[in-house]
Symmetry: C2
Subunit: 89 residues, 2 copies
């Protein structure tokens, strides 16, 4: 399990890019980017922007998708989730 992770929500994508860069700059060798539901697309954006624009020596080590159950007013609902693990080469 990556020791550092960034959970992507509805804020602007650069907020999360900055969070990932900060963790790598403070010595992390792996950073896990996690998201659920519609934020999954933004999580992929974050991983791609970090790799292409800021840290070319970082690679995608693994990507996992899963289904999580969340409680809502109407009972439990299934939501897709993604975990993208970035690691220094």
């Amino acid at each position: 399990m990556a020791e550092n992770s960034v959970f992507v929500g509805n804020k602007p994508v650069m907020n999360y890019v900055l969070a990932v860069l900060t963790q790598f700059n403070s010595g992390a060798t792996e950073v896990s980017i996690k998201a659920r539901g519609r934020a999954i697309s933004r999580a992929v954006d974050v991983a791609e922007i970090v790799r292409k624009r800021f840290l070319p020596d970082v690679d995608v080590k693994d990507i996992k998708i899963s289904t999580e159950q969340i409680d809502s007013e109407q009972g439990t609902a299934n939501v897709s989730a993604i975990e993208i693990i970035l690691a220094k080469k």
Copy 2:
């Protein structure tokens, strides 16, 4: 390269689930689910629904993310893309 692929757009998710099931039922051993931009979340939904509800003997063989350049009125723009390869166990 998976010989069969389904490109996920803005239609209801079950349209794409059906397309993937149809390809497996007509003998495909691998089906690649592709999407760009905001449809990436839906592509993950499609893969999860196919695996969890319909074809438990299908697994995620590989997931790739990338950045593609698309032409828009304002010139070329970068958009994230995903490819999820499902394969029979």
